[in-house]
Amino acid sequence: MENSTILEVKDLNVKIGNEEILKDISFELKKGEILAVIGPNGAGKTTLLKTLLGEYEYSGSIEFKEGIKIGYVPQRFGYIKDIPMKVKEFFELKNVSLQDAAKILKELDLSEQILEKSIKDLSSGQFQRVLIAWVLSSNPDLILFDEPMEGIDLKAQKSVYKCLYDLKKKNTSIILITHDLDVVYKFVDKCLCVNKVKVCYGKPSSLNKETLQKLYGGEVKLYKHTHEF
């Protein structure tokens, strides 16, 4: 493994029960790189992240650089809204100081006052940003995002984009599941297209209409965005 490589995945196969979810997936990630994982629903994208986190058994190899700290922003949360809890208590679960929490929340355009709010009273856009701030407060070297833009309003999306951009500037590595090809062209260094098997892997500029049709099936309209963020 090269020194700048922080994650190397080779010939990854994941079976859950008798069903083959992922087959022959290989990719690598260098420090400060953003890798987008795209593919249709049920293609195994979330399974890929959870396998990296050690949830499922697999064959093949997953090798992280030694001592690396991982963060994870899940797509769905089962029970957090069932428990009466203030935002600041959520941060206190892992002993983050309130000053640090407020500082990170500010970077995501949330005011300090949100710390006193109940988790269940947050909008989905606010909750998503609180969650991202919570994950960032451990200073991870690599963050796995599972569709962070899903179900949140435009203003919140803009804050999350900005956060991704800032993270990239700070040399944090990111693996990002997304359906938003716009994001892929704007931010991403590498792209992994998955539909149970690896459909394509490379620079986003190498994504073409044929590959996307193969990935999603059917007609796909492709817009290339050239403007800078």
Binding site: E55, Y72, P74, Y79, P84, M85, K86
Partner: protein, 255 residues
Amino acid sequence: MSLLILNIILGFLVGAVAGYLGTILLSRKTTVTSGPLGHLALPGAALALVYGINMAIGAFPSLLISAFLIWLIQKRTGLSEEVITAIVFVIGVGIALLFLPIDKAEAAFVGDIVNINELDSLVFILITLIVLIVLFLLYKKLVLFSISEELARVEGINTRNLFLIYLLSLATIIAIGVNIVGGLLTVAIIALPSATARSISKNLKQYSSLGFLFGGLYSIFGILLSIYTNLPVGPSIIVVASLGFFASIAFAKSK
């Protein structure tokens, strides 16, 4: 008289720790919920009654073996939680009645706190206090785990060990709780205090401390009700707890 006071203290503590435990129910994700676990305590509790030892001593191993079996059944068959719960319920009650004729089984089903002897009571108080300290120290980690197992793991928590500690605590409290409310009703001392606390709490601190407090109070008032009315202790605690729970819903609505 001093034995009665000792047993009331035990009742308060077990109720309080069960209520506290109810605020961190991890087992929503697994089939090993407190409901079926209580029923699984029944065969062991019945055997203990046959041999004239305290029910908790039979209930504890019975719980652990059964929890393992549930886990295995679910892993092998993928049956839904409802189905396994139903199966477990009838197996637990059925086997208990094989060992013990139903007219002698009352203690195992609805509890019998007044007849715990002094030594057992003291040992149970001590064990319950140990469980309380363990849960208190691990509380934040357990809450994080109940929110999301992956997040907990990413934050460096050994979720397998944590789940094991949680399960052992739950089994211990339920085994001792069989003396107080009986195997049929243990789910109530876990679920009702936390449900009451939840409807009136604004934050985690309130939620966990009220779960503890309501658990203890329900238990004490239930035991007193049982002593004065001569009704079985388990159902008496349930009556008090249900009243408290419905009052908390009304209170929460009125705000």
